[in-house]
């Protein structure tokens, strides 16, 4: 085949051009591939060092460059923060020592633009440019600054040992585009990292707030659950409903006998037992809107149907824009019971004061009646007309006096003479008397604990108490056969035990007590009766005057003791008495012996605010041949003492007087004339008053009412003034 040499040359030239074009196209395709691969890697990689290393690797592989590094200024040195060395095993950077880079002029780093250096340029710019293992001596180096990245003088370096600057130079535009991509992505990564940091901070804050909320919620939940009142949160926005219960605490559930789940499914109206007269829930909510808080007493119904009083405090609250009534409920049953008990005690107290006052006045009057009757009887001969009537009148007066004694006992202001008392002995001695009165069908049983401590008490009053209770028991048994048991025990009361003695008054203190129980097998009492038995003048007996148990209560109260009663209708009654154990029993004072000091006339100063009493005393004394000086008040009495002084043989002083009063009058008499004996007389004896006067040598005590005979015997038992001086 012949060929035109010119044509051949032309073909060869065209082939060369095509090959060159192909070569350029291949280069171009490769660069586009590289940018694509870099972009792909940037999207995938989050770690900046790994990202830079991957980019270096891609550039090095596709452009057949053996070495690439990202240099950063760290302190005064340059450090390769990311490296790709095609002939160095992975992880071997540290083994042979790191590559070393040191510029001669730190101020000239990083270069302001991308550039390619030959070996000479490198030596001028770098004091050290050492690439280790296997060593690589750069023939050409390309530097592409990574502007604005962390402001750390960051710059990419590519080193080729074989190709010269002329071969790297054409790659610069492409390398700059790669670096642009990297920079943009690093900025993005930095922003993401910052955002992540902020998100992390936010998460921490949210977590902290959540913890705070949870702590707060816990605190309120504890408060909600442990408050002693029942709490209901009631929906106030739900129109036409009956107060749907949104939430409740355990106390509210227990109060109404429901479980929490049951209560939370109910409405407020269904708990109410107040009846139709109570306004509707909606109306009450409306009222709350104007008043903020409403406090009212309501009747609520438990699950078992029982009704109980509650105090309800309702407040209108907003929870996240929704309106609720926050209701606090307190069971008033106990409070009502305590109030009733207090009311009862107060009533008994006032009755006691009333009874005491009446008894006192009656005793004064009875003293006059008895005195005048005795005088009349004395003045009549043994066979005088009307004598029998006078004797009957005297008898009735004595019975009236006995009644006033009961009244005084109830009032707690009866004659009060304290001494060490053995309860067991008292009961045994009285049993002898009682057994005579006990019918055959009733058995009296004594169960007395040995070694019972002594109590300090008024013996005669305790005797009255035991007699009253035993006789009550016998009467309760009625016509049937039965048993009355009297028991004694030593007991120690704690704080809690004291609370079990509701009828003992407010002063029962923890400590040692003697317990007396009087139990009968009689008819027992209904609650309605039981609750009233201690009221004065209340009696279920046809002939009862209603003072027996009131007197018992008064006496026990006067002894700071406790009194309780258990009774079941048809099954008998048990009275329980507690008496405080006396720590040091005072020796019982011997009653003044009424030894006659001769029948010579005595001068007696009588001080009493009641004229009729003064008169009867005067009459009684004068009838016996004595002289009475009368004083209508303490002040007048003192005047008489100052005038007649030593001429007075005896002073008869009433304790209860208006004005100066018996006690003060006595003190002043003692100061003025300490030698004149004073006998105190009273319709009732106040324990404190007697105790105050005890140290001041009281010559005697005369309980009203008294007979003229008793008065005269007492007067004559005192020495006359002249004898006294002697």
């Amino acid at each position: 085949m012949t060929q035109d040499p010119l044509e051949y040359q032309d073909l060869m030239d065209r082939l060369q051009v095509v090959e060159k074009e192909n070569e350029l196209l291949a280069e171009r395709a490769e660069e586009i591939s590289l940018l694509g691969l870099v972009a792909e890697q940037l999207e995938r990689e989050r770690d900046p060092v790994e990202l830079l290393t991957s980019v270096l690797e891609r550039v090095c592989i596709l452009k057949a460059i053996p070495y690439g590094a990202c240099l950063e200024r760290v302190g005064g040195r340059l450090e390769a923060t990311a490296v790709y060395h095609s002939h160095r095993a992975e992880g071997a950077e540290g083994a042979d020592g790191a590559d070393r880079f040191q510029v001669r002029e730190p101020g000239a780093w990083p270069p302001s633009r991308a550039m390619v250096l030959d070996a000479g340029d490198c030596a001028r710019m770098f004091e050290h440019l050492e690439i280790a293992g296997p060593d690589l001596l750069p023939a050409a180096v390309a530097l592409i600054p990574l502007k604005q990245h962390r402001d750390s003088g960051c710059c990419l370096l590519f080193a080729d040992a074989r190709r010269g600057p002329g071969e790297l130079e054409p790659m610069l535009p492409m390398l700059e585009r790669v670096v642009d991509l990297v920079r943009a992505h690093l900025v993005k990564l930095a922003l993401i990292s910052e955002l992540r940091q902020l998100t992390g901070d936010l998460d921490l804050k949210v977590a902290e707030r959540t913890r705070e909320l949870s702590r707060s919620e816990e605190r309120y939940r504890i408060l909600f659950e442990h408050v002693p009142d029942g709490i209901l949160l009631v929906d106030a926005d739900d129109e036409g409903c009956f107060g749907r219960i949104e939430d409740a605490n355990a106390v509210a559930a227990a109060l109404h006998g429901y479980s929490l789940e049951e209560l939370r499914a109910m409405d407020l109206e269904s708990l109410s037992a107040t009846g139709p007269e109570l306004e509707s829930f909606e109306a009450r909510v409306w009222r709350l809107r104007q008043l903020d808080t409403v406090r009212e007493e309501l009747q609520h119904r438990r699950k078992d149907g029982s009704v109980f009083p509650v105090e309800a405090i309702g407040t209108l609250v907003q929870v996240q824009g929704h309106q609720y009534v926050l209701g606090f409920f307190r069971d008033l049953t106990e409070r009502k019971r305590a109030e009733e008990a207090l009311l009862g005690a107060q009533r008994a107290e006032s009755l006691g004061i009333l009874a005491g006052g009446i008894a006192h006045d009656f005793n004064n009057l009875l003293t006059a009646i008895i005195g005048q009757t005795c005088i009349a009887l004395d003045r009549q001969g043994p066979h005088g007309a009307g004598r029998e009537n006078l004797v009957k009148a005297l008898d009735a007066s004595e019975r009236a006096a006995s009644l006033t004694r009961q009244m005084l006992a109830y009032s707690g202001r009866g004659k009060f003479s304290l001494q060490a008392v053995s309860i067991n002995r008292l009961i045994r001695e009285n049993a002898v008397i009682l057994e005579a009165a006990v019918p055959k069908r009733v058995r009296l049983e004594l169960d007395l604990e040995q070694g019972l401590p002594i109590v300090v008490a008024d013996l005669s009053q305790l005797q009255q108490v035991i007699m009253n209770l035993v006789i009550n028991g016998i009467e309760a048994i009625g016509a049937a056969a039965g048993l009355v048991a009297v028991r004694t025990r030593a007991v120690r009361l704690g704080q809690a035990d004291c609370a079990m003695w509701p009828r003992s008054g407010p002063s029962l203190a923890p400590g040692d007590y003697v317990r007396i129980e009087v139990q009968d097998s009689g008819c027992g009492m209904a609650e309605a009766v039981r609750s009233r038995i201690f009221e004065p003048f209340y009696s279920t007996k046809a002939k009862g005057h209603g003072l027996g148990l009131s007197a018992v209560q008064g006496i026990i109260r006067g002894h700071r003791g406790g009194l309780g009663v258990d009774s079941v209708e048809g099954s008998g009654t048990t009275f329980r008495i507690l008496l405080p154990v006396g720590l040091s029993a005072e020796p019982v004072a011997e009653p003044p012996r009424l030894a006659a000091h001769g029948a010579g006339p005595r001068v007696v100063l009588v001080i009493d605010d009641e004229n009729y009493l003064l008169e009867v005393v005067r009459d009684s004394l004068e009838a016996a041949g004595h002289v009475a000086i009368l004083a209508g008040s303490g002040e007048e009495g003192l005047e008489r003492v100052s005038q007649q002084g030593d001429g007075i043989d005896l002073i008869l002083l009433d304790l209860s007087m208006p004005g100066l009063g018996g006690v003060e009058t006595f003190r002043r008499i003692r100061a003025m004339a300490p030698a004149i004996p004073v006998v105190l007389t009273s319709g009732f004896a106040e324990e404190e008053s007697v105790a105050q006067l005890k140290d001041m040598e009281l010559a005697g005590f005369l309980q009203k009412p008294y007979r003229a005979r008793t008065l005269v015997a007492l007067v004559e038992s005192m020495p006359a003034a002249k004898d006294r001086k002697a």
Binding site: A26, L37, R58, I61, A64, S86, E90, P134
Partner: protein, 273 residues
């Protein structure tokens, strides 16, 4: 095969990974570039029925170590395999090599003829197919392709698809096996180091040796191999005395994937001869 962890053999501080199957006359399977022992997976079950078969990962490939300070060139791989087969306790054995592995087979047959019963070259490189070492650093199209393939699964898939007659066999599973070493920077460096270590002088220097070889050779060529020309196989057949040439239709460069059954039958026939 890939589900089982490979066994390892150590020499000079480097470890080779290999898989060993079956019993009988020993056969060593040697892969080429871009692949590793997985390329034999379709042949192994049948081949191991009558032979003790070892599929090795060459140094720098698959699960073997990937040092960068030693050559992955053909001559050094031959010496490493010679020691390795002794380590396996083998005296004489048959060797099958594909691609670069085919070059290793030729060099092994020339350098250690006494150790081989049979030598099989499948789509193997030979003579001056590969550029001389200084030139290889120049940016030849094949180096560019391999570089791209190390970074881009798409480029690798293109190479694999071009190497198959049955394109549909470039499944995701097969691509995952090809791509596995490229997923680490160490794997990519070793791959490129393998390519950079190749030097046609390792093969041109044995041309005379091949002409004098007495080892029974089977030269197999996939008739649709677009990477290696038919001339390579024909020249080997011409120059190696007594060698057989088998040209298989409908088989590309990766003929183990295209014609595994045919290959096993041909190998059994050849080893039985």
């Amino acid at each position: 095969m890939r589900n089982q962890p490979p066994q390892r053999w150590s020499s000079d501080g480097h470890e080779l990974a290999y898989h060993r199957f079956g019993q009988g006359a020993p056969v060593l399977l040697v892969h080429g570039i871009t692949t590793y022992s997985f390329i034999w997976q379709r042949l192994l079950p049948d081949l191991a029925r009558n032979h003790e078969v070892v599929a090795v990962d060459l140094l720098g490939c698959g699960d073997s170590d990937k040092p960068l300070d030693v050559s992955y060139g053909i001559a050094s791989q031959v010496e490493r395999l010679e020691a390795f087969t002794r380590g396996l306790g083998w005296d004489r054995f048959s060797i099958v090599g594909h691609d670069i592995g085919g070059g290793i087979v030729q060099r092994f047959a020339v350098d250690h003829p006494d150790r081989l019963d049979h030598a099989v070259v499948m789509n193997g490189v030979a003579y001056d197919f590969w550029p001389v070492q200084p030139i290889i650093l120049m940016r030849t199209p094949i180096i560019r392709q391999l570089a791209m393939a190390s970074l881009d699964l798409g480029a690798l898939r293109m190479i694999v698809r071009r190497g198959l007659f049955h394109k549909e066999r470039a499944t995701e599973e097969l691509m995952a096996a090809f791509w596995k070493p490229m997923q680490t920077r160490a794997g990519r460096k070793a791959f490129l180091h393998f390519a950079g270590s190749l030097d046609n002088r390792d093969l041109t220097s044995i041309a005379d040796g091949l002409r004098r070889s007495r080892v029974p050779f089977l030269i197999i060529r996939g008739m649709d191999d677009v990477y290696l020309s038919a001339e390579i196989a024909h020249k080997l057949h011409r120059e190696i005395p007594g060698s057989r040439l088998l040209e298989i239709p409908e088989a590309g460069h990766f003929l183990q994937e295209d014609q595994p059954g045919r290959l096993v039958r041909e190998l059994e026939t050849f080893f039985g001869a």
